[in-house]
Symmetry: C2
Amino acid sequence: MTLMKSWVASANSADSQFPLNNLPYGVFSTGEEEPRCGVAIGDMILDLAAAEEAGLVELAEDPVLDVPFWNEVMELGPEAWDALRARLIQLLAENSGERAAVEPMLVAQADAVMHMPFLVSEYTDFYAGKHHAFNVGTMFRGPENALPPNWLHIPIGYNGRASSVVVSGTDIRRPWGQLKGPNDEMPRFAPCARFDIELEMGAIVGKNTDGPITVQEADDAIFGYVLLNDWSARDIQAWEYQPLGPFQAKATATSISPWIVTKAALEPFRTTTPEREKDLLPYLAEPTPMLYDIDLAVSLQAEGGQEHTIARTNYSRMYYSAAQQFAHHTTSGCAMNVGDLLGSGTISGPTKDERGSLLELSWGGKEPLEIAQGLTRSFIEDGDTLTLKGAAKGDGYQIGFGTCSGTLLPALADPYKR
Amino acid sequence: MTLMKSWVASANSADSQFPLNNLPYGVFSTGEEEPRCGVAIGDMILDLAAAEEAGLVELAEDPVLDVPFWNEVMELGPEAWDALRARLIQLLAENSGERAAVEPMLVAQADAVMHMPFLVSEYTDFYAGKHHAFNVGTMFRGPENALPPNWLHIPIGYNGRASSVVVSGTDIRRPWGQLKGPNDEMPRFAPCARFDIELEMGAIVGKNTDGPITVQEADDAIFGYVLLNDWSARDIQAWEYQPLGPFQAKATATSISPWIVTKAALEPFRTTTPEREKDLLPYLAEPTPMLYDIDLAVSLQAEGGQEHTIARTNYSRMYYSAAQQFAHHTTSGCAMNVGDLLGSGTISGPTKDERGSLLELSWGGKEPLEIAQGLTRSFIEDGDTLTLKGAAKGDGYQIGFGTCSGTLLPALADPYKR
């Protein structure tokens, strides 16, 4: 696949996150206007509410693009998704005959505020990166017992909190919680001292399902992908998580990037999951490649300082694909719905600079990460901005995800005083 | 508190679940008509959509009772909740001057189908019954290590799946899942063989909150309570739950009773949580009694057989109240929303006949429960109907919860064949 050219000049640069090949979907607003659906092209956004109102795009009898979420488009199903993408390529391609009608509907991304791109129905987070699971397991139980016995058989997941999901750019408040050191007699209620990131991808469910579905059906039902940062309070987690899993440690916030990159845009970048160390049960077998080759990076910027990349890895490091996770999620008969968000689990690679959390990068705080001259980190400090970036790299073009960013504000002096 | 008399004669019997003191809220339909809001009185339902349309009840400018959920009433806040209850008491009291207008709006419960009473936003399940936690812990780790170290400090909870919540009367399909016995080399994908109930109460969040709230604020924000059966696949759970908690084991279904019993109706039955074995951190202290004295029972009816009570206990056996659980849920800054459902955790008492799950009643299947002549159970068998019942007992009246019931259908021969 090579670059598809657009009459929007900025989309044709090899550096552009959003060439015509991409066309990711978001929700934006400008000035006093209401948030509405848009598609990114180069450094612009095409206002899809306007395009729909003008009859340039028609998906259903009633408008579905003048609302601040993509759920209604998802509800229309894969044929409508394909039709919308085909029509947008037609409108925005270099040789489009409709440039004159479309051009007035472009808004500069620099002038727009991005909002949550969809209503999150329910949120599930997985633990499907083997290097991450191995690193964390080694820290807590030693390398011999690092992976739980079920790990090579089940894409381990737990339900998260949909109300915690926020769009990139939302400030994150350092939480309070119950903390207890291994030698403390009693727990105390205090601000989290080990606040962390988790570099993940989020898959968005675009179809309602009821009853077990196959991995192929799951792949077909995914609408698109976003970057996802599962902010984690490690000290709260350590004390609370036995026996029923993380709870408040994961409920402060989960940030996602504002642009939903569609499965269609990622199609040329499909890749297989790594070799199986133990055979999977047949219901989890991948009939075709369902992971994606997406370069990922994490950066940290201290307050008033420069941005430094602290980790680089690739989505293809995952042991399980989102389709496998989704299929497993339905085995018990669990109904899944449009707008469900599936976090991949932390993505880490085999080398130290590929680790997707500070917990791993600083080895539980024992080996503070040296980021730059005079700048070390074990966990996030107040005022730090953490940013995830991602792009699939094609021949002279890329499918970019934009950024997923958040700044940590200090804990409130008294969380009950409002 | 004594019986408040109604002109609906069936409501005045000491045996009635639904005297004028109760007035629980549900969603019902009759014949071909759309589901709508109603209130139970004796063996009747007052059609509140009709009452609102006739101007007998007025809560807001636009109608809020002609919809198949109580979320809109919850959104109106505690003053509106009180006003509605006061108005319904006025309309239905023995000395009401409006009987003639109201009487045609009564529907026999026997003629109505009950639906989910509210839209579940998110569902959280807790593990806050000490006898249950001790029993389960003893089975797995011995009595010395039965309670996890955090248990007396944290109302342990985990996020469940809102899409799994169904109304009483919905059939439950035995799920498939990954199973692995302790001596098996590999897991297999097969129907669950250890399907179980969990006797719980559900608290319904009636207010949106953002940031940590106190236990008193949490209590104020609870709209009402239902019976809740957290159906559990014990064999799936045993293999999947380490390290991040139960997932598919709890996702098949969660049944709730159709009538929301309001906090106002339960007011005379408030009782304190049991004595603390260790001091709670101040943020969890109960300023006033926040548990309730509610008698609970579980019955089992084999296909074509009689109904037998297999356990009796009381909600006051819980170590933590719903208000304490709710307050803890918000500590990290987790936003809570109208329609969030909080499961209490399995309610068991100190004696064997007070155990709220078959796992406990049959001691993990090692001591099958003798229910009646020729009827024993370790776990649920296909065709069994399990029913939860609950009532707070006043002086010559009771605040009944109705029933929370479900019949287990056999597993599908092939869960992927539709």
